[in-house]
Assembly symmetry: C2
Homo-oligomer: 479 residues x 2
Amino acid sequence: MQRTKVADLLRSNEIGKTFTVKGWVRTRRGNKKVNFVALNDGSGINNLQIVVDMDQFDEALIRRITTGAALSVEGELKESLGSAQKVELHARKIEVLGDCDPEKYPLQPKKHSLEFLREIAHLRFRTNTFGAITRIRHAMIFAVHQFFNQKGFYNIHTPIITASDAEGAGEMFQVTTLDLENPPRNEENKIDYSKDFFGKPTNLTVSGQLEGELAALAMSEIYTFGPTFRAENSNTSRHLAEFWMIEPEMAFYDLNDNMDLAEEFLKYLIQYALDHCMEDLQFLSKRLQEEEKNKKASERSMELIEKLKFVLENQFVRLTYTEAINILENSKPNKKGKFQYPIQGFGTDLQSEHERYLVEKHFKKPVILTDYPKEIKAFYMKLNEDNKTVRAMDVLFPQIGEIIGGSQREEDYGKLVQRMREMNIPEEEMWWFLDTRRFGSVPHSGFGLGFERLMLFVTGMTNIRDVIPFPRTPKNAEF
Amino acid sequence: MQRTKVADLLRSNEIGKTFTVKGWVRTRRGNKKVNFVALNDGSGINNLQIVVDMDQFDEALIRRITTGAALSVEGELKESLGSAQKVELHARKIEVLGDCDPEKYPLQPKKHSLEFLREIAHLRFRTNTFGAITRIRHAMIFAVHQFFNQKGFYNIHTPIITASDAEGAGEMFQVTTLDLENPPRNEENKIDYSKDFFGKPTNLTVSGQLEGELAALAMSEIYTFGPTFRAENSNTSRHLAEFWMIEPEMAFYDLNDNMDLAEEFLKYLIQYALDHCMEDLQFLSKRLQEEEKNKKASERSMELIEKLKFVLENQFVRLTYTEAINILENSKPNKKGKFQYPIQGFGTDLQSEHERYLVEKHFKKPVILTDYPKEIKAFYMKLNEDNKTVRAMDVLFPQIGEIIGGSQREEDYGKLVQRMREMNIPEEEMWWFLDTRRFGSVPHSGFGLGFERLMLFVTGMTNIRDVIPFPRTPKNAEF
């Protein structure tokens, strides 16, 4: 008999009909006459209540229905007398597909710490929290593709292995097939990279932007969505060595078009989450409130769904970096020395505390800062006529600070080469990038959204290791 | 004025209205009175014809309208007198956004070889062929996500960097942050991997399947879609060092369910291509016919769109490997010694020539072979009761042979461990994989589709380097 998903059955009105469900036992409770089994198959946050009439089943079978065991149950859908659910399945046949020794199963029917669950990341999909996060992560992936597809953007798979290290976005991982114990050496006793797989040193990409620009300058509007890597030895709740990035790149877009797209994109994703993941969001909202119940009211996060609506319902405030510095310099926390990093005029690199002050205290709206000092931004950003600032934009959100970074790109060959020289970017390695400015260059713009950063925002989770299935961090590549 | 995309304008009926288009010049031709500029912005295979009244524009401006130059053109949409297009844009304002020196521009308005275009992969998006391939590649990516999303599958991002090398699917790339010139060594003078980023040797993934299984055994139905890697030194038209794979994994699916899904999936993708990419497919079809016009009729490929419909309109034939071996042993080419690899009874590993014989000559339908000898398949495939074969399935297509490989997985802990021992798979490294069989194991299945293999089939291209934007192959990691 065809399996029906638990989530579909919970929405069903077909009382009196027979269904088969398959899934994993979350809990079993009851008495000598009747047992209640909570079954989950990953299709939603809510379990299906299976009602087991103890007279109808072998005791030996029932003893095998333990937390974590896999069951196939055929039964009749009935209205539930309990208040927790509208319907329940009265079991007629039960088959134990896979046993689960309760003495050995690491996931007990109790609250486990997130730290412990990270150590059993292979099983944490079976918890309410990670089930919800997994479903929301999927919904956000799909929403990204749907948004861009509807707009006529093309998804471009930019390379993961790259010989270019020009972006300078951070430490890189080396990729090699050389025998590290005994690598080939040349006459100068240096590693002979001509013997390596690609004939030269290669790394894992830190961004698909540069290759994305190549595609945009032919296809007009493209986006990448792929893994990127940083070999930074940062053991924090905000850093991963391997994470996913979305990088749209658009020919004929100036900085304003870029900001419009970023705002529309973020609102689309958040609206999609509210439309498609409400039950999971409600669960995560309660979870967060529970976590924070011992905090002072002033230290608690904004309620999750309220926070998502806050972004949706407000037009993002747009102002220049210079204006923001003025606000921050004259702000109470700066004057009272409450910022960990005091604002020291134009040129100060903004920290999360400053970004959050602007969003949460000053404007009480999401903020887009533009026109940053060229010194603190990348070489490819378009220089303003003041020769001091570049057409960068950072989108700032409550709680997490910067969620998107982008810019209009320097399309002028001469200016781009000059910036590369000033910043010691090797021109000869970047011949292909420079070619786009030699042959039919056009104004263009783009931005990057760290997907896990988005996931933190949408789920309200606070550690980035909890929003990706198998986090890669220093000393940790398990699973 | 808002830019209108060329593809939208070509479909427009708004004759007499004013539009602005932006794009790159493909060609300019004409006489002293009127010039015709073919403009393309990547939105479709067809160019927009811009009609330039020579009296209305400076000669200096017109001289800058060369192949590859970027223009912004405002003009009036008129019905075209030419037969090649229904509408054309009569220019009122022309701005050259970016010049393109015709002496230096590598892409001349003539036919270039695919080999040459690979060397300028940063510019080949601007050709008809790669524009079409890029649009089809996007359409196929989106169709993959849409198919699984509609079915309630969750997309899982499995790790790219992995410490596991148990799948044994081929040579792997090592990922490291150690200084290769002078790596840290331990007391035994071996490389001290405790000093490496992850504290142990790590590689680039060859498959997301094993991690996908972890997710499926909680979420029921999942799929991965990400880059995978092989460090094989194969310089062929079928191998890439970096390629994209789609790997669905489903709890509660047996081999039949798996075959049903694979067939439905492939048909969905091909129908999607026919529904959304017809103009590009028609272009590629003509291109292929042109390429093959000097071949003997018997050596020519099936016409591209006919070939796609061949898959759609036929139910896939399902038979066992053993049955296929019988057919092949008794086939004409085998008896006449025409196979490069003669069939040597049960146990023979099938080659592309055998697979194509079954599909193209014998059945004249796509074929799914099942129940292969365990010796030639991976350790995780479910053993049949004959103890000789496993519940594997390969989907075979015309021209390319195997397009999908999959299996029902061994869900029995004891049998799985035994296969691992027989095949020297280290159990202790795979504790997390084995845990899924210890705790609530269920029958489950999955398969892998090499995305570039699909792209070859759908586009009719013959070299895999031409269906991915920036191919990675031995000695080649440019761009």
